[in-house]
């Protein structure tokens, strides 16, 4: 496995992004090799969610390049849709399709995008729901499930497309505290199975346990890029020390 033959799963180079006058991503450089689990930390407003959303172009960027598995992000259209099909995404607010049952949520994209036969898609969907522990909720509507169950369903929905990489945009931030763990357990298992993951989160426990690498962002810049051990025991920058001081003392 040489660097030349296998491109990184995600490559961002010189990425800049503005919201009006606000410079939300400043010259971001990032490479995520296959199989790596990267946790992105940072105070709110630091641009970490935006970073995550630019990778499948839910947020377009103003300059720079982003490549997924060696392929530059195409412009909006059929080709971008094809690329997005290979990039799983889990949102803070779950975003399950409200008018479809849980199993229909998981089946939809394989049937519509991958053109999988409905019976086969249903079988795979049930296996995935089994895996995230909510197979017994398959015929319910999203609103009938707890937040933790909804988020696990959303993870199953993303996995149904057999993505090359998974993006998690604050997957536990909208959950009641007692439901956070069930979602993190699913994510930890996924990480152990070798899935390439980029996780924006505030869950330090998950970062310590499952991450290969921690990225700390502040004011739109990547300030630190190190292993979890290094980051939590000996952060280099003052901004990271300040951040850790605030969240680890209480």
């Amino acid at each position: 496995m040489t660097a030349a033959s296998t491109p990184p799963m995600i490559r961002m180079a010189g990425v800049d992004k503005f919201f009006g006058p606000l410079h939300v991503l400043k010259d971001v450089q990032l490479e995520v090799p296959k199989g790596q689990v990267v946790v992105v930390l940072g105070p709110s407003g630091s641009g970490k969610s935006t970073l995550c959303r630019t990778i499948n172009r839910l947020e377009p960027i103003d300059s720079g390049t982003i490549e997924v598995d060696g392929q530059p992000l195409p412009a909006e259209g059929k080709e971008l849709a094809r690329l997005r099909a290979d990039v799983g995404m889990v949102f803070q607010s779950f975003n399950l399709f409200a008018h479809k049952t849980i199993v229909e949520n998981v089946m939809l994209a394989p049937v519509k995008v991958r053109k999988t036969a409905a019976a086969e898609a249903r079988k795979t969907a049930m296996e995935l729901l089994e895996r995230v522990g909510i197979a017994n909720q398959a015929e319910k509507f999203p609103a009938q499930l707890s937040g933790g169950q909804q988020q696990r369903a959303a993870i199953a929905r993303a996995l149904a497309m057999r993505p090359k990489v998974m993006l998690f945009d604050e997957p536990t931030s909208a959950l009641d505290p007692e439901m956070v763990q069930e979602v993190l357990d699913v994510m930890t298992t996924l990480a152990k199975e070798g899935m390439t993951m980029l996780v924006v989160t505030h869950e330090m426990g998950f970062a310590r346990k499952a991450a290969n690498r921690v990225i700390f962002m502040s004011d739109g810049e990547i300030v630190e890029d190190s292993t979890p051990e290094e980051f939590f025991s000996a952060p280099k920058s003052n901004r990271a020390k300040d951040f850790l001081g605030k969240i680890l003392t209480h």
Partner: protein, 215 residues
């Protein structure tokens, strides 16, 4: 009562035409209105402009004028010849679809942006996202105004009476020629419309109840 029983054929054929006008233009308006709404939310600026212009022009034109155009002016263009009934269907469809478009669009606006983002993130195309995710949810939230628009269409069909289409609005003329009591006749026409509208109201109630569980 004798006004109704003596002229039952007249009433039945009149309301029959009304119903046909309503059903055909209703279905066509729903289709065209939905297409227009899709244009209005499209990411392509030209499509949006087409949708917006259509709604602005057609919604702001009185229905009678739309009829006058299709019955009197349009034949001079010598494109395809329409009979009066077809002209009425075209006029009603073009007019009503502008309203349906706005109802559907307001429905689309009630669907949380996250639903669209999740569809895009899964690799659905814009068309797939609209037809599988956004429109089904949009329609659920606009049942009452949608039914109101259809009721308005049902009653607007009477405008066709003024343009040689023998529908319910025409019954009065026929009654007056026969020397019947026109006032009583009109009351029966009104009653007929109330009866026609009832199933629509019922449909609204059923759809609202069935779709309320989804969210």
């Amino acid at each position: 009562m004798s006004v109704l029983t003596n002229n039952l054929d007249l009433f039945l054929s009149g309301f029959g035409t009304t119903l046909r006008l309503f059903l055909i233009s209703g279905v066509l308006s729903l289709v065209l209105g939905t297409i227009l709404a899709m244009l209005r939310v499209s990411p392509v600026p030209v499509f949006r402009a087409v949708g917006t212009t259509y709604v602005t022009v057609v919604r702001n034109t009185p229905l009678t004028l739309v009829f006058v155009f299709f019955v009197f002016a349009y034949p001079y263009l010598e494109i395809i010849k329409f009979d009066f009934f077809t002209s009425a269907v075209v006029a009603l469809t073009l007019y009503t679809s502008a309203f349906i478009c706005e109802v559907v669009r307001s429905g689309i606006n009630t669907v949380p942006i996250g639903q669209a983002e999740a569809s895009r993130a899964l690799g659905l195309t814009f068309g797939q996202m609209l037809s599988n995710i956004v429109l089904p949810q949009a329609m659920r939230s606009v049942v009452p105004p949608m039914v109101s628009t259809l009721i308005a269409l049902l009653k607007n069909t009477t405008v066709a009476a003024g343009f040689s289409v023998a529908e319910a609005g025409r019954i009065r003329d026929a009654l007056s020629e026969q020397g019947e009591n026109v006032l009583v006749g009109l009351l029966w026409v009104a009653a007929g419309f109330i009866i026609l509208v009832m199933p629509l109201t019922l449909l609204q109630r059923i759809l609202e109840k069935r779709w309320s569980v989804a969210r």
